[in-house]
Amino acid sequence: MNAPVILDRRRVLAGGGALIVSFSLTGAFAEEKSPPGVVTAPKPPGSLKDAPLLDSWIRIEADGKITAFTGKAELGQGFKTAFQQIAAEQLDIPFASLTVVTADTHRTANEGYTSGSHSMQDSGTAILNAAAQARALLVAEAARRLDLPEDTLRTENGAVIAPDGRRLGYGDLVAGDMLHVQAQPTSKLKDPASFGIMGQPVPRLDIPNKVTGGAAYVQDMRPPGMVHARIVRPPSYGAQLTACDTAAVEKMPGVVKVVRDGNFLAVVATKEFLAVKAMRALSAAAQWKETASLPKQDDLLHVLATGLPSQDSVIFQHSNPSAVGRKTLEATYTRPYQSHGSIGPSCAVAQLVDDAMTVWTHTQGVYPDRQGIAEMLHMPQPSVRLIHVEGSGCYGHNGADDVAADAALIARELPGVPVRVQWMREQEHSWEPYGPAMVTKLKASLDENGAIADWNFEVWSNTHSMRPGGAGCLLAAQHIAQPFAVPPAKPLPLPEGGGDRNAIPIYTFPNAHVVHHFLPDMPLRISAMRGLGAYHNVFSIESFMSELALAAGADPVAFRLKHLDDPRGRDVVMKAAEGFGWREGQKAPPGHGYGFAFARYKNLAAYCAIATEIEVNRETGQPRLLRAVAAVDSGQAVNPDGLANQIEGAIMQSMSWTLFESVTFDDTRITSIDWQTYPILRFNSAPDSIDVHIINRPGLPFLGSGETGQGPAAASIANAIADATGKRLRNLPLTRKRIKDAIDA
């Protein structure tokens, strides 16, 4: 299981005896590894349990320079700023006096993927504790030198201070391998009441550069001598290149090289637009043999629920025969394939120097992607370095890993030369791995008191991760003449789950039965998209809860509270209702509707409830979100403004998925290949207001936030549309046309 680790090499840098260990690990770790039920010594929290040496996270040099390291990748969520707040707070140093280094296979810990709203929980927690423990070690060292009891000393502004005013700077105190020690299971954390930096809306560090045209993205890299490459992808899955006369293209201005390896076709040119022109010509010269292999887009319900083989498992079962249902409701909900649709197509820069390949990439997982690329190139992993550089917004597994592989494959043909590859818009839209289509079937009964007596939930879904790991997950490796096979799909294990993420209700029902129908065959290329199965499962559960409330003649908020025991969940529900001005039994104005929904992401991360008001034009069916009020409990809030920004974004993005988005295809090709054919929300759909109420929980663990809002936003909008029109829509997306047809029916 444990791959060889190449990073176990120490480099002691020059300088005043300070020890800077570049990185130390006891082993590599699979992503999200959770040892089953084995009782061992308590482990340190967050990612410290996998990379337990303090100096994997915090380093202090003799000159007082302090660096925090994270194996996570900044994807636009702004966590880099939050991590810096955490480290500065716990070390008692000014915010601006340290820097944060993000994912780099030669510098940072292997934290697997930056996904699943795990960054704060894993890396944030590791930095929090590592910083606190480093501070404790510094205080202990100062106590030793000053010969004073530790509890007489305090820390401030990067120094330990004695009662008599003597100061010892951290740089002076750090010595030998002071921080090259195993983390302890518990840390002496600062009292949240004393926080000066954590909990503050510190402005994000990356924004000034981004609003003034600084180099901020991998797309902006221009190492000396860099050339530009463009790929010619097959027109459809499985298409075979039968002929391609490259001679004319090779003679085009600026063309450096045409790379052809099986079905992998690319062209390199000195300038970017010359590469684009050459790509167009190469594309026209290429002839492909295509196979019709795609399912019927209009019939995904049957394709998924009956057409594909499934592996069925009961993932939750609870029985109480004394509860008897009187009135039974059933409903089926569907979700189409959906695109990540990053605004900037995927991009990477790669360079082969002295048999070592370096790839600058916006991948979510530098280590797993390195493994795949090394395997594809038949190179040892230590000879391949992946450095994370920000790309356009990342909402899961998009083309980032694939384009990194493209760049590496091309760079191997041009030793010494940095090669930049950016996909074209059409390539991103037709080749990115989509969020999988899903089907859910729900059935529940109400007892004579209008409470839910039994609950049945079934979900049909592909896996929600086909990330590398192996080379077989990379497009380029699938397309070369000696291809790597796509590895078989595996369901992601609970409690987090994949297609069954959030399939288990958070509510307390006397009888409940939840089945996961895992579909191993993947007619379309799919992988992780923000929230994984939680988006559709929460949409389904929370739509159905409102359907049941209506059937029970109950207020949707009261009905939820009636079945919800979790006190933090109840707080969030009540906060959102209060912020919205929700009153039991209230009626929205004509043409308007109110909606409510709630979930705890993965049933173990952040809590989020969202109330919405929607206006529906009854003539056109056009819906417009007027206002949304969210309440969120993400544990200890490090940067409230950053948290609010994430929730606002979740509501907006989920609104776009929910109202507009579906991947389209015919029997052979993907047909939603740009913003004409894959429309997303534009400014006219922006609501009048979004309010985010944060329930801060000082001292409690970080729960993450990047994916907590999407499911509740979708259901809240669907519920508001149902309230406005009297018609329940269960097939995503809830398009204007579907709303109009429902109104007219």
């Binding site: 917004g393 609104m655 009048d688």
Partner: protein
Amino acid sequence: MMTLKVNGKDHVVDADPDTPLLYVLRDDLKLNAAKFGCGLGQCGACTVIVDGKAVLSCVTPLLLLDGKQVTTLEGLGTIEAPAPIQRAFMEEQAAQCGYCISGMMMRAQALLQRNSKPTDAQIRAELQPNLCRCGTHMRIMRAVHRASRLMDSADASPVIQRSAP
């Protein structure tokens, strides 16, 4: 070879006349702000200002630009001396990934140059061609209003360079 005026300076550019302005800005002039988003004029990530108007640089060939003034985000201000629109986007923290933001700011800047007090509806209509995927729309609108106020209080000409207080 042609001379292109960008951010107040003449540049002699060695590119074919059919080259879209976007590639000239990024590849020849090494400017970062204008972004490749679609190359089809559908998303606005490449928006720059030409003679006061917001223009999609990915579908504007070089040959249309003879004698015209191109302004990119770099030409408005710097981190040390941000223009009102830049200050406003910083103060509102109006970005998530930020890839679309440069295009948003340039289109908003063009709007503010001809209408210094736009309404919410006017901002929405103006920014309609530009896509944001992270869902930062509410902050972007707030930032445009803030920029409008900042320009006012600075009593500034539309494109100015001033330092933050």
